[in-house]
Amino acid sequence: MAESAVAAGAGEVVHVHPEELGFWRTYVFSTDHKMIGKQYLFLGLFMAVVGGLLAYAIRWQLAFPDTEVPGWGFVGPEDYNALVTMHGTTMVFFVAMPILLGAFGNFLIPLMIGARDMAFPRLNRLSFWTLLGGSLVLLSSFFVPGGAASAGWTGYAPLSARPIYTGVNWGLNLWLLAHAIEFASFLMGGVNFLTTVMIMRAPGMTFFRLPILIWQLLTAAVVFLLSVGPLIAGAIMLLMDRIAGTSFFVPEGGGDPLLWQHLFWFFGHPEVYVVLLPAVGLAAEALPVFCRKPLFGYRWIIYSTLTTAILSFIVWAHHMFVSGMDPRLAMPFSFTTILISVPFAIMVFAMIATLWGGSIRFTTPMLFAVGFLSMFIVGGLTGIFNGSAPANIHVHATYFVVGHFHYTLLSGVLFGGLAGIYFWFPKMFGRMLNETLGKIHFWLTLITFNATFFPMHLLGLGGMMRRIANPMQYEFLQPLQPLNVFITVSAIGLLLAQLPFLINLVWSLAAGRPAEANPWEAATLEWSAPSPPPHGNWGEAIPVVYRGPYEYSPPEVAQDWLPQDRALAARPG
C-alpha cells in the first residue's frame, strides 16, 4: 500500500509557486491550508482584542461601579449585561475555537500527517469566509437599536425567548445568527479535519504514529460534530420563539424553559473539551521537544482523551443541579462529572512524568506549555467543587465558577495557544520570535493571570454572584470590594502584559531572525518541511513515516532526536 501510494503520488505533483499568484489568489481565494490557518489565527487574535476590551469595561464597572470607564464611557446595567454576554460569546466561539481549532488545526493537520493540503481545500476556504461573516454579524450586533444580546452567553430562556424581557430585539437575533454561521463554519471545518486525517496520511503514518495534537484535534472535531446538533435544534426553536412567536421555551404557551438548558448544555459541556483538548495537545507537543524525551504514556493519553470525549456527553446536567430539574438526577450527573477527573488526571500525570528524567530547555514555548499544565491543574481541581452537587449549591453562578472556567478555558487559549504560537511561529512565518520578549511576556502573563483569576474563587466562596453589574448594591459583598479592585487592576495588567507579545509578533514578522527548517530539533513531520513550507508543503516526494512522533534521545542514534521520516539502515529491535 505504501509503495503504491508513493508511486501514485509522484506523478500527480504539480508545483505552484505562491509568488506567481496575485493578491486575490494568495489571500482571498487561496485554498492553501497554511494561508487559511494563518487567517484563522489573525481573526482569532483580532476578536481576542475585542473580547479583551469588553473584559476591561466589565472589570472597571465591577471595581468602580457606576463611574465612567476611561476610554469607554458610562456602563449602565443593560450595557453591562450585553458586555458579559458578548465577552463570553466572543471568547468561546470567536477566539478560542478559531485559534485552537481553526489556526492550529488547519495549519498543522496536513503538515503533521504528511499531506499536501486538507481533503477539501475549497470547503476549507469557505469555512474561513463563513466564520469571518459570523464574526462580522456578531460585531454588527453592537450597533443595532436596542444594543447587543444581553441574556448571558448561555442565553437562558425565557429571558432570551421574548424581546420584552431584555429589551433587546435585533441584537439577540443577530447573536443567534452569528452562532448559526459559526456552527456552520466549524461543521465544515470538522468534517474536513476528520476526512483529512482519515484518508490523507502519509505512507507509514498509522493512527498510533500520529502526534498527540492530531488525536486531540480529531477528538475535538468528533465531539463538536456530535454535540452541536441539539443546540442547532435549540437555536432554531429559540429563533422561532423570538420571531414566529412559538413557545418552545416559554411556559405561558406550554413550553419548558429547562428544555433550552438541556439542549444548551448537551453541547455546552462537550464544547469545553472542544477547546481544551487541542490546548492539551499543543502543550503535549512542546513538552517532549524541550525535555528531549518521549511523551510519557502516549497511548494512555490517547485512551484518556477518548474516554473524556465519551464521558463529556453524559455530564451536561452538572450545570443544572439547582435549576429546578428533578433533584434525583443530580447525584448521577455529579458522579459522571467527577469521574472525568480520572482521564484528565492521567493526561496531567503523563505530562508531568514527561518532565522526569528529561534534559529541559526553558524556551518560551516550553514555559507556556508548563504554564498551561499548571494552570490547567488548578482549573481541574476547582472543577471538583462545581461538580459536586452539594458544594455546587453554594458556588453555582458565583465568581467561583467564573474563576474556574477561566483557569480551564482561558489557560487553554492563553497558555496552550501561546505555547503553540511560540512553538510553530518559525514554521508558520519562517522567522523566529524574540526569546527575551517572549519570556517577559510569559512571566507577566503568569503573574497577572493568577492575580486576576485566583481571587475570583474567594469572591465566589464569599457568595458574589456572576453577572451583577454592581457588587456595592449588596451589603454582604461590600467587605469584598477591595478584592474586586485588586482583580480589576490585575486584569488590566493581564491585558497590558500582552503588549510585549504583540510587539514581538509585529517586529518578528518583519525582521525576526530567519528560521531554519527545524529550529527546535523536533521529530514530527512538519519540521521536515521548509520554514515556511511552500505550496504543497514538500518538494517532489512526500515523507515516509517510520516511527512514532516522539523519538527523543533514543538509544540507537547519537543525535538526540530521530525524525519520524528518517529511515534507519538497521531496524531497531
Binding site: S323, H457, G463, F476
Partner: protein, 232 residues
C-alpha cells in the same frame, strides 16, 4: 480559604461546608503534589552539559503504573467525595421536611414578592399577606418555601444559609431551610434576569421566637389564634 464563606446560619449549611472543606483538603493536597512535582522536575532535570535525557516511553504497563496508580487514587477520592456528597445533597434537596410554616416567594423582574399564608396557614385565602423583598421567619424552625416566577428564571439565593434554588416560570419549586441564628441576611437573585438583575434582592429576617410572635401579632392584629396555628 474556607474563611471566605459567609457565616453559616442554617441547619444544613454545616453539611455543605463540610463537603466544601473535604474537597478543599483533597484538592489542596493534589495541588501541592502536582505543582511540587512539576517544579521539582523542572529544577532537577534542567539541561546540563554532559547529561542527556532518559529514554522512557511510558507505554508499557510497568512504566505506566506511575501515572495509573495516582489516577486510581484520584478515583477513590472521587468516590469518597461523591458518597459524602450524596448525603448532603439528599438532606438539602432530597425530601423537603414537613412544616406548617410556609411561605411563597415569587420572583419577578426585579423583586421578590413574598406571600405569607396568615393565621389559617393556607395560601390563597383572604388573610394572606404580601410583602416585597421581606421574608420574616422564626429561628430554629423549618420553613417551607414555594418558589414561583412571574416572568423569567430567577434564583433564590441565601448565601448565609447555603441555599440556592433557581425558579422556573410556569412551575412551582419547593425549597426549605431552618435558620439557626437570629439576624438579617441578604437574599439576592443569582440568575441573570434582565437589566435590573443587579440589585434584585430582599432581606431574610430571622427573629427569635418571641420577637416573631410579636411580628405576627402586628401583622394580623384581628386574629387571636394566629400564633397557635403558626405552630410554635
Amino acid at each position: 480559604m474556607m474563611r471566605w464563606l459567609p457565616e453559616n446560619v442554617s441547619s444544613f449549611g454545616g453539611d455543605i461546608d463540610a463537603i466544601l472543606s473535604l474537597i478543599y483538603s483533597a484538592t489542596l493536597a493534589w495541588f501541592f503534589l502536582t505543582l511540587g512535582a512539576i517544579l521539582l522536575f523542572l529544577f532537577l532535570y534542567r539541561r546540563r552539559e554532559g547529561r542527556g535525557a532518559t529514554y522512557i516511553r511510558g507505554d508499557k504497563l510497568s512504566e505506566a503504573v506511575w501515572i495509573l496508580i495516582p489516577a486510581v487514587i484520584v478515583l477513590v477520592l472521587d468516590l469518597w467525595i461523591d458518597f459524602r456528597g450524596a448525603d448532603a445533597w439528599a438532606k438539602v434537596k432530597g425530601r423537603v421536611p414537613s412544616s406548617d410554616l410556609r411561605v411563597e416567594v415569587t420572583g419577578k423582574q426585579f423583586n421578590w414578592e413574598i406571600r405569607y399564608p396568615g393565621p389559617d396557614g393556607k395560601l390563597g385565602t383572604a388573610d394572606d399577606l404580601q410583602l416585597d423583598n421581606e421574608l420574616h421567619v422564626p429561628v430554629n424552625q423549618v420553613v417551607r418555601v414555594t418558589l414561583k416566577s412571574k416572568d423569567v428564571i430567577h434564583s433564590f439565593f441565601l448565601p448565609n444559609l447555603r441555599l440556592k434554588q433557581d425558579i422556573l416560570p410556569g412551575r412551582e419549586v419547593e425549597a426549605w431551610f431552618q435558620a439557626t441564628k437570629p439576624g438579617r441576611y441578604e437574599m439576592p437573585c443569582s440568575e441573570l434576569c434582565g437589566f435590573g438583575h443587579s440589585g434584585m434582592k430582599g432581606w431574610l429576617h430571622v427573629h427569635p421566637a418571641d420577637e416573631y410572635q410579636q411580628w405576627v401579632r402586628e401583622r394580623w392584629p384581628s386574629s387571636r389564634q394566629g400564633e397557635g396555628s403558626k405552630g410554635s
